[in-house]
Every structure is written in C-alpha cells, then in structure tokens.
Point group: C2
Chain length 193, copies 2
DNA sequence: GATAAGTTAGTTAATATAAACTAACTTTGT
DNA sequence: ACAAAGTTAGTTTATATTAACTAACTTATC
C-alpha cells in the first residue's frame, strides 16, 4: 500500500524525531536526509500531518497484527503478557526510533486527529491487557488482591519506563535480552503466590 | 529570588505547554496570555531558554526540598515511598500543568543544557528510590526476590503512568485520593509477604 | 513498432506566515 | 527625576507550502 519512497519518508521521519525531537522533523531536514528537494516530499504526502499519521499507522499495524494473533490462543495469561512485551521489545530493538514517537504523546499535540489516534492506541493496549489480567485472575494464575486496571497501569508503566531507560542510556544494553530478565521479575510480582 | 512577573511567566508557560504542548509555548502566546507585549517578556527573561530553565528549576526546588527533608527520618521504607509519592500527587494536583513538562523529556530536546537538567532529575529520583528500596530489603521490609533497580523502575513507571492517565482523563478524578489507593496496591506488590 | 498522450517524480523559485528577538521611544511608581 | 517595565515598529530567520516547469518512463492508438 505504501510506495518505497513513502516508507522511506516514514523511516527517515522516525530517525529525525529520535535524534532531534519533534522540532527536528521539518520538511527541509526530511528532504535533505533523503537527498531530494523539499517540494518533492509533497509528491508523496499531501502535507506534514499526513506524514505524522503515516508514522502512527506504521506503529498501529505493527501491534495490531500481533494483538489479534496472540489473543486468540489459549495460553496461560502470564505467558501471554510475557509474549506481548517481548514482541514489543523486538519491535523497538529493530526500530529504536519508534520509542521517541510512541512514548511521546507530546509530538502529536497539534492536531486533533493525531491526539485521537494516540488515545485510541493507548486505550486499546490498556483494554487488551486488562482483559488478559482479568481472565488470568479468574483462572487462578494472577494475584487477585489488586484490581485488573491497577495491575494494567503498573505493567504498562513499568515496561514503558524500562524501554525509556534503554533509550536514555543510548541503547547501551540488549533490550530483548535484559527485557526478558525484567519481564521475569514482573512475573514474580503479578503471579499468584 | 524570582519577581512576581517572573513567577507569572513560569506559571503561564506551564499552562501553555499543558494545553497546547511545547509548540504552544511561544513568546507571542505567552505575552498575549499575560496581557503584555512580546518585548516586555525580555525585560524579565533574557531569552526563551532561560524561561525553560526556569520551569525546570521550579520543579527541581519543589522536589529537592522534600527529598532532603523526608530522607533524613528513619521511617519504614515502604512508608517512605508512600510519602514520597503522595507528595508528588499533591504537587501535581496543585499545578496539573507540571505533568506535561516533567514527563516529557521531548520538550527539552533542543538544548543540551536542558537535556542535562532533565537527566539529572531523573537519575536523582532513581537513585533516591533505589537506596530506599535497598535499605528496605536489608531491614526485611521489602521483598528481596527482585533487585532494587528493577523495583525502582517498576515503581517510578507505575506512578508515572498513573499520573499520565489522570492527565489524559482531563483530571477527571481526585489524584490525591485515588492515588492513595493506588499506592496501597503498589505496597502489596513490594512488601515482604 | 512508432508516436502521441499521460504519468511519476523530480527540479528551482517564490510566497505567506510565524517565530525569536532588537532598537528606540513612553509610561509609571517611588 | 530616574529606574523599571512597558509600548510600537521593526528585523532576521525558518518553515510549510505552492507555482511553474522538466526529464524519463508507461500506456494507448494507428
């Protein structure tokens, strides 16, 4: 659905945001880095907002595929959570610049459409996780002394902070490897007994 | 140390960032909202970066006072953590616009000085918390099956996510009240047995 | 299979707007 | 009367976007 150039624009935009923040994403920087002129960008995206929407779509499709696949099976809930996040770790490892974008609602504050999309993603993540937790509690796999929505906030917050630290350390450790270790600790917290 | 007008500039800047994101903090918006002309701003701050530094200082002094006070006493570690965060909740309740700023490293990506200050704050928070946890583990108050740095990431991440949800819900619940409840759940997770 | 018509992806040049900041003058409060 | 805080009217620089045009390729038609 996306042309090669469109994919390139999205990827280079992610890199720019990653390295210089949202203020670094200008049509000029984008064009320079790709090696074409500024107006050429407009042959591929109508305007800057469409590019930002493209970035969000890139991430959305990335996770949505996985959600639908993973949620169908009938694994243990704790394992499900484990897989959900090791998948995220793999995604971030492959495209580290995604971290800046996905964890910075700030970037999308200008346009209502963008805010809505970000809110949608976050609500979805939260609902999916709450559901898994509730099921796990009913099956006796997850501790029941804390309500699902709180547990969900804690898990999502923990993971987010973990990834953010990886980013702030300049990707100095292996996210997938250390991430697996971190998830193990998280499992200790949420498992029954 | 700050004049009334300087305080006003900081507070209005916080409001602008809170409502429109960092892109909403312009000298023009600032001047309009205060009700003076743009150049008048420069009578009080040399340039925009100084204003941003002012915002960070405002938050730093807010927490530093508390840290030094709170850490001297010899309370139970879990209680210490509880107080540390209920204090944060109170601060955010009083000045909700702080949330956008403190939790958005993104905002300060342009200038090296600002990045350093943010990193300093985060490192400090993390060290203070790790220390409290380690002490608590040695005194048998906190579970020892998870290492202090992981626990610290989990706690900070949980709290951050909790506050962020409060913000994203348009401050629809009482942060201090529900926050106390949330901290209770967190306590269940980290306490020994 | 050659030519006309259309498309794609690019170029350079220009424009509108908005940002941060400055110089020179005026008002206000003690 | 003088210093602090304000104003008006600018400057410079950057940014997104548009206009006008072109080279190279693809498709349709005779």
């Amino acid at each position: 659905m996306l042309t090669d150039r469109q994919k390139e624009i999205i990827l280079v935009s992610l890199e720019l945001i990653d390295k210089k923040g949202i203020q670094g994403l200008t049509i000029k920087n984008l064009a320079n880095k790709i090696g074409i002129s500024e107006p050429a960008i407009y042959r591929h995206y109508e305007n800057k907002i469409q590019i930002l929407i493209g970035i969000l779509d890139f991430f959305k499709s990335n996770t949505e595929d996985f959600f639908t696949k993973e949620l169908k099976n009938d694994n243990n809930s704790v394992e499900k959570i484990e897989r959900l996040f090791s998948n995220h770790f793999r995604t971030f490892s492959a495209t580290p610049s995604l971290v800046s974008v996905v964890f910075s609602e700030e970037i999308f504050r200008n346009e209502t459409i963008l805010i809505e999309q970000i809110a949608e993603i976050m609500t979805k993540n939260n609902m999916v996780l709450s559901n898994i937790i509730e099921t796990g509690q009913n099956k006796g796999e997850i501790r029941t002394d804390i309500n699902p929505s709180y547990l969900s906030i804690m898990i999502l917050g923990s993971l987010r902070m973990f990834v953010k630290q990886w980013q702030m350390s300049n990707y100095s450790f292996d996210l997938v490897k250390k991430g697996a270790d971190f998830i193990n600790s998280l499992k200790l917290l949420i498992q029954k007994n």
